[in-house]
């Protein structure tokens, strides 16, 4: 006897669930994002691909102090510094980064570099599409970091 009742109860549960599915299918908009055809929605403090920022006058913010490198728990950053040419400075002051590299294969996106930076030069941006065909391309150069791609993301307002 009880076996038959179990079957009926089960059928009712499935019908209930299917009913909810059907109702949601017609009443709610889809949450799946057709990424990368559509932009991804992320929170403003999301930590994506690194960027190096500039001042408004075009000078680089980074002064090559290597503090981000020191703070990085994975050894993902490599900085070499050099002396600014006073006639054509790269950054304000005497020192700039002549080499700045981030190895995305090592990075765990912890944001410690960002926190360590005294000039807010390195920030973790909103670019999330990091896939590449070649492992070497995971090594971001200073040029790439200074000229980040436009992130294919929108920032959520409800946070």
């Amino acid at each position: 006897m009880s076996g038959f009742k179990d079957v009926l109860d089960g059928a009712a549960e499935i019908a209930k669930a299917m009913g909810f599915t059907l109702k949601t299918l017609v009443s709610e908009p889809p949450v799946t994002v057709e990424y990368p055809d559509e932009p991804m929605t992320i929170y403003p403090r999301f930590r994506g691909r690194h960027e190096l920022r500039r001042y408004e006058n075009g000078l680089e913010r980074c002064i090559g102090c290597c503090l981000c490198e020191a703070a990085c728990p994975t050894g993902a950053i490599h900085v070499e510094a050099a002396e600014n040419d006073p006639a054509h400075p790269t950054s304000p002051g005497e020192r700039y980064a002549s080499v700045y590299e981030v190895n995305l294969m090592r990075c765990i996106f912890c944001g410690d570099c960002e926190a360590a930076c005294p000039t807010e030069a390195v920030v973790l941006g909103h670019t999330i599409d990091l896939a590449v065909y070649n492992r070497r391309d995971m090594l971001l150069t200073k040029e790439q970091l200074l000229n980040p791609p436009d992130p294919n993301t929108v920032i959520r307002g409800d946070w």
Binding site: C65, A70, E80, G93, E94, R95
Partner: protein, 829 residues
């Protein structure tokens, strides 16, 4: 009265040495009193007030500066009391009022006492929010040192170092109050040869290393304790590298050798590893051109080239020239290869058999500090061993050591009280004879007939008496008197004088090169085996034959000069390791061209390497392990700090592979795979090195004893050598070492290219007679050749002589060498 006393710090009784500074006593007890101006190597001054502590006095507690306060029995000190802590906080807050705190771009950041003290003792926040004073930020004191006046905390360390050690007060304080700055004196230069020491001493980032600027952060450096290989002192230093690139050299303390100082050449000439001119690949002459080849092919060509010569002309047609700049291991293996594998004793180096050096070098560098008289003959420590020169200056000032100098130039150390003799080339033996005679007369000893005619005068008597009366004289002669025509007479006569004065066992030789002592110790000589054992000693040969599992030739070989002179005759092949005869003497370049086969193992494509059939790229001393033996027989380690450039390989590895390829049947005797193992073999081959191991050389090295080789000395007549005058060439050539030359090391260091005066020097009277002024171009001629260079007029030069430093670009002194070299007759024009 006992010197051990007890003082109390924060209620804890600690033992102390009477009279030592409180900071030092406290440090021994584990209490690190913070200091800025206080430094163990500088006189106390009490300029910064960082070290304030409270002392119990009969009138209550008083704040005192621990760095200037000698301890006394029963002294009671409060270090952790509220008032003391508060005082130190106040000092730091005061210092930071105008401090820029640009730590992120400051080369000191990460190893900065101001950062560390602020963290440990600072107030945490400041009462001040006013605009800070602004001063010069990257102000060049010289081509080598930058000053950031904003960061300076006015501790006086730089001023004191230059005054107390260099005796060259070249920096001072200017203006007053908050405007006070460090600066050079008007029209003054900062050019002391150890000026870079003030970078190490500066407790903040005010003085920074200009060539190394911004190239490192202290925490990311790999720090390799090593030594300097620019001169025979072997100063201890640390090689700081990152990513296999040397970033800077800093001094390392070794009180027995260099105290805590290194010279500017040792500090700033560190570009040798990154120089684009370095050889990175073996080269072989193919169709008349040097072309890159693989190591296998290069070694094969060396093997077949040498074997061909050995078969055609016998092993005695092959010779090898080692280097006093290369490691013990390199010289030892080159000797082992030549003697044991090729079977030839044609083995020497430039300062080798022809140099009348004491086989033991000098007794002890540390003895310079305790000297009561300094006697320098034919050497110029300021140019040849600048750190030794600082020790000597200090002895001259602090111990009132008289300085007696015999030199063709009035060298820098002649500025101290004493006697300075400037005999013209050729007149040295007569002067030394006069000094010997005066010494014997002063001691009431009989004067031998051959000395009876020696000159007498008051200054000679005074100098002779001073040496005879000295208790702890520091006596050196150098290469200026030890080679070439007439050197035998000079060395014999100066030895007579020192022996007559009773100091025969204190006569030392100042070696100019880093491993001059070691190259000789390793048997890089035609008639000596490793350990300075004579080749003629059958037992020594037998020991070595057993160790090397081979038979050794017993005929002495040719010397350096002999090999080059025979290059058109019986020498058919040469193997040159770190030697550049072609660059030093044009005639030798021609000789090398006549050889059947020339192998050059080098760092750079030198003039000599350009003539080679095979060029083997060697690793520099920072790129491989090695040991070097300094002038006081101290064997010191120079461990690998960075990877070799390109395909360059360490000398010992090249020679090991070569020997194995040349004689596969002897491979068992060539099986060491590390320098530590190789050094162990050396200690067997050279009994003077017995007991040393790579490990127990440690950070400070080990000496073999002065007494290990005893030399019996007595006053002996000698054979004089007359230097004939030559009316066509009225001047006499004087050659010598100059710190800032154009040698390969400096040529590879752009930062140093502008240092020093690179010119021939003439006395003002000679210059006036010739109508020459400083900076004029001149041509010097002798019977052998000519060189073009510029002239510098200098009244330190002996009239009638012209001084030409070695290694001037385009002006090799060797081009002027006639049969009286180096005392050659020259003319101008």
């Amino acid at each position: 009265m006992s010197d051990l006393i007890t003082i109390t710090i924060d209620g804890k009784e600690i033992p102390a040495q009477r009279g030592e500074m409180l900071t030092k006593a406290a440090r021994r007890a584990g209490i690190e009193i913070p200091v800025f101006c206080g430094h163990p190597k500088l006189d106390p001054i009490g300029a910064c007030r960082m070290c304030l502590v409270e002392q119990e006095t009969p009138r209550g507690r008083a704040l005192i500066t621990a760095c200037t306060t000698p301890v006394s029995e029963g002294m009671v000190i409060h270090y952790g009391s509220e008032k003391a802590v508060d005082a130190r906080q106040g000092t730091l807050e005061m210092i930071l009022i105008n401090h820029p705190l640009d730590c992120p771009i400051c080369d000191k950041g990460g190893e900065c006492p101001l950062q560390d003290h602020t963290l440990a003792h600072g107030p945490g926040k400041s009462h001040f929010w006013e605009e800070k004073h602004h001063k010069a930020k990257n102000y060049p004191l010289s081509d080598l040192i930058l000053l950031d006046q904003e960061r300076c905390i006015l501790c006086w360390r730089c001023i004191r170092y230059l005054g107390e050690w260099e005796d060259k007060p070249q920096l001072g304080l200017f203006h007053r109050g908050g405007e006070t700055v460090i600066d050079k004196f008007p029209d003054g230069e900062l050019d002391a040869y150890t000026s870079g020491s003030i970078i190490d001493l500066c407790p903040v980032g005010a003085l920074t290393n200009r060539p190394a600027r911004f190239s490192y952060r202290p925490w990311e450096l790999r720090k390799t304790p090593s030594i300097c290989t620019h001169c025979g002192q072997g100063c201890n230093l640390r090689i700081d590298s990152r990513d296999d690139i040397v970033r800077r050299h800093v001094a390392r303390e070794n009180v027995a050798v260099n105290d805590e100082w290194i010279c500017d050449k040792g500090r700033f000439a560190d570009d040798i590893s990154v120089s684009p001119a370095r050889l990175q690949q073996p080269l072989a002459r193919i169709a008349g051109q040097l072309q890159p080849v693989s190591w296998a092919e290069a070694l094969q060509r060396v093997v077949s080239g040498l074997k061909g010569v050995a078969e055609r002309h016998g092993p005695a047609a092959i010779g090898a020239i080692g280097s006093a700049k290369a490691s013990n291991e390199a010289n030892y293996l080159l000797g082992k290869f030549m003697r044991g594998v090729i079977g030839s004793n044609n083995l020497d180096h430039r300062e080798g058999a022809a140099l009348l050096a004491d086989p033991r070098g000098l007794p002890s560098l540390e003895a310079a500090r305790h000297a009561d008289l300094i006697l320098l003959m034919g050497c110029d420590p300021s140019e040849e061993m600048p750190v030794l020169a600082t020790l000597l200056k200090r002895a001259a000032i602090r111990q009132a050591a008289a300085v007696v100098i015999v030199h063709p130039r009035r060298i820098e150390l002649a500025r101290y009280p004493g006697h300075c003799f400037q005999p013209a080339p050729g007149e040295e033996p007569a002067l030394f004879d006069a000094l010997t005679r005066a010494t014997l007369a002063g001691r009431g000893e009989p004067i031998p007939a051959w000395l009876a005619g020696a000159a007498e005068d008051a200054q000679i008597t005074a100098a002779a008496n001073a040496l005879a009366a000295a208790q702890r004289p520091f006596i050196l002669y150098g290469s200026d008197y030890a080679w070439g025509f007439g050197a035998r007479a000079i060395v014999a006569s100066l030895t007579n004088w020192v022996t007559a004065a009773g100091h025969g066992d204190r006569l030392g030789f100042l070696h100019a090169q880093a491993n001059s002592q070691g190259a000789g110790d390793m048997g890089m000589l035609p008639d000596f085996l490793p350990g300075r054992r004579p080749l003629a000693d059958a037992k020594a040969r037998g020991d070595l034959e057993a160790l090397w599992q081979t038979e050794l030739p017993s005929q002495p070989g040719l010397t350096y000069g002999g090999m080059l002179a025979s290059a058109r005759g019986r020498i058919k092949a040469l193997y040159l390791l770190g030697a550049n005869p072609a660059g030093e003497k044009p005639a030798d370049a021609a000789a090398l061209k006549a050889l059947d086969f020339l192998v050059v193992q080098e760092l750079f494509l030198t003039e000599t390497a350009q003539l080679a059939d095979v060029v083997l790229p060697a690793a520099s001393y920072v790129e491989g392990d090695g040991t070097f033996t300094n002038s006081e027989r101290r064997v010191q380690r120079a461990p690998q700090a960075v990877k070799p450039v390109g395909n360059a390989a360490p000398d010992w590895l090249i020679l090991t592979h070569l020997a194995r390829a040349y004689a596969p049947e002897r491979a068992a005797a060539w099986s060491t795979t590390s320098v530590a193992a190789l050094f162990a073999e050396i200690t067997q081959a050279a009994p003077l090195y017995a007991g040393m191991t790579w490990e127990n050389l440690g950070a400070g090295g080990r000496q073999w004893p002065w007494q290990a080789l005893s030399l019996q000395r007595s006053v002996q007549p000698y054979k004089p050598a007359a230097l004939p005058a030559d009316p066509a060439y009225p001047l006499r050539l004087v050659v010598g070492n100059q710190l800032w030359d154009d040698g390969v090391v400096l040529a590879a260091s752009p930062a140093l290219a502008q240092q020093g005066i690179k010119a021939a020097r003439l006395h003002p009277t000679d210059a006036a007679a010739l109508g020459l002024h400083s900076g004029d171009a001149i041509t010097l001629r002798s019977r052998s050749g000519s060189v073009r260079t510029t002239v510098h007029v200098d009244d330190a030069i002996k009239p009638g002589t012209v001084f030409l430093p070695y290694s001037l670009a385009g002006a090799p002194a060797g081009a002027l060498f006639d049969e009286y070299a180096p005392r050659s007759a020259v003319g101008v024009g």
